[in-house]
Subunit: 330 residues, 2 copies
């Protein structure tokens, strides 16, 4: 219904829906934190096109699937993925029960606040931290750990709660798409059970629409009560070529819109936009050193290099955070 | 909105919602293919309870998750799982390209129509059949294979298309729950990509709400086009203790209603009904040798033994297909 109303509004006033929507002067602008820009016009034009009944690009509501990366696309990811900061806090909290960690890397590095050794521990070291901090409890217990951490933890440089470091312009896109009949999904390299406890309240995305990396779980009955126990074993890595696999596994149909910000989203963008009919890929480019961070090709976190090269030839929209957004955080 | 209207209807007329709903005389009975019975009353009473705003058992719409087994719960499963009949047809179709199958079990058994040798091949043999018939193509190609098969294949004893052998009373339950704000999911031991091409048209359940067993897929770019290739390697078995794992992986919250029919659904029923607040488990008991099939403890397919023993003590509803349903197929 909202789609119909919005389309009527858009069609009512002007020669072209794009021109009108991009004017930004329209009462009820669905994306007020976006400056008039090519990226805003592209998003609104795409949605107008696929929701126009009897139009050439009409897509029925059931097929309006939009996928969003999380780190660096819906919330910040600097100076490190927030989930890694969670793992570090968790290791410190658990340390009294693990005296052996004092002499054992990568735990020693965390406890000594020795970021150089931590970096030297590499991917294997990170995996050890994640397993030690994310496994060994039931799913219900882990959910509480995540909730409790988010309630008290603050970002090291902004001092904000992490869930306050989500992008207002992207919250508007999520609302706008849902008002136009879309189902919005997260497709993140981050942990699926690290995201689910808060994505519904923060993004309006329910747990069943969150796709992410995961460790294995095992059903057990303990003291007569069925539980799922989190095991220290990787189940699925939802990154790079894993993202189309995760999308297929969880959604079972190809999205029509994909939003990413790094080379980790490249295959998701390819998979989404290679489908028949109208499709759109959007890359959030971190260009705002003042209000957020500016980084791309040389960054260790959220590296955006190959996908940026391919964007032009692929017709993907590149959002210039500094110039396209008049607001970053809510 | 429908929930509100229905609840008003139910509350409007009589002393007790259960008594009224169970009378069956109510205009707009949501389950007309169900005879007045304890199982019908239990289902309607449960839904009325959790959708009554300000009532003690109220469950917000976002948490109204109902999970359904497929084989033997939403459609028939005799004389063999329909997916196995698909695999057999597929093996026969592919045989001209595989002359070696003439002398190689379990393929020889399929080609010779030798059910005894096929049974002797056991689980490992079945797995070989599934891999040979389900892997090696892209996800898009496999979807077409399934659609084509369903369009022409007929059940060996009824002569019906397989998708006509779904249970009318269960279709009504699906509609009734969705009209009351539920999201309905399939949680089946069957192949997730075998079900998704038709569940939306037949059950009103979209692909993203289908959970099942799966083989691994791999992202690749072939002739410039991104594809997902189906590999002959098991990814996940969504059966028995795997069902709560699959539910957690895909849905991320505990259902409030679970419908099953066999011991393969036992852990799903336990996991669902062990949650806090109002929960209900329902078992479809195949008691109707005339209109469908009658089987339980001794059956190799859809064996119902332990779950039937546990039903009484667990408060699970046992549907007597013969007496509770006035219609089986649409």
């Amino acid at each position: 219904m909202f789609a119909v109303i919005w389309n009527r509004l858009v069609r009512a006033g002007a020669a072209g829906t794009l021109a009108l929507a991009a004017s930004g002067a329209l009462a009820g602008d669905p994306l007020p934190s976006w400056n008039d820009s090519a990226s805003k016009s592209a998003i609104i034009g795409f949605v107008s096109g696929i929701t126009t009944e009897n139009g050439p690009g009409f897509v029925p509501p059931a097929e309006r699937i939009a996928v969003f990366d999380n780190d660096g696309c819906l919330w910040s990811e600097q100076p490190a993925y927030f989930q890694l900061l969670f793992a570090i806090d968790r290791i410190r909290e658990l340390a009294p029960d693990h005296p052996e960690w004092k002499d054992q890397q990568p735990f020693k590095a965390v406890l000594d606040n020795d970021m150089k050794s931590l970096a030297a521990a590499g991917e294997h070291g990170l995996l050890e931290l994640v397993m030690a901090s994310h496994a060994g409890m039931t799913t219900v217990a882990f959910e509480k750990v995540v909730r409790d951490w988010l309630a008290s933890a603050r970002h090291p440089t902004t001092g904000k709660p992490y869930t306050a470091m989500v992008y207002q312009p992207m919250l508007e896109v999520l609302d706008y798409l849902r008002a136009n009949g879309f189902k919005t999904f997260i497709v993140s390299g981050g942990g699926i059970e690290f995201m689910r406890p808060w994505t519904e309240a923060v993004y309006g995305i329910p747990p069943e629409q969150v796709i992410g990396s995961s460790i294995k779980t095992k059903f057990d009955v303990r003291d007569g009560e069925p539980v799922l126990v989190r095991l220290p074993e990787v189940n699925f890595i939802d990154d790079k070529a894993g993202k189309p696999v995760g999308i297929n596994q969880h959604i079972g149909r190809r999205p029509v819109m994909a939003f990413g910000n790094s080379d980790g989203d490249l295959q998701m963008l390819q998979w989404t936009t290679a489908g028949t009919g109208a499709r759109i890929g959007v890359i959030v480019h971190h260009t705002d050193a003042e209000r957020e961070w500016a980084y791309d090709r040389a960054s260790h976190i959220g590296k955006l290099d190959k996908a940026l090269d391919l964007a032009v030839g692929s017709g993907w929209v590149v959002v210039d955070m500094k110039n396209d957004w008049n607001k970053v955080y809510p």
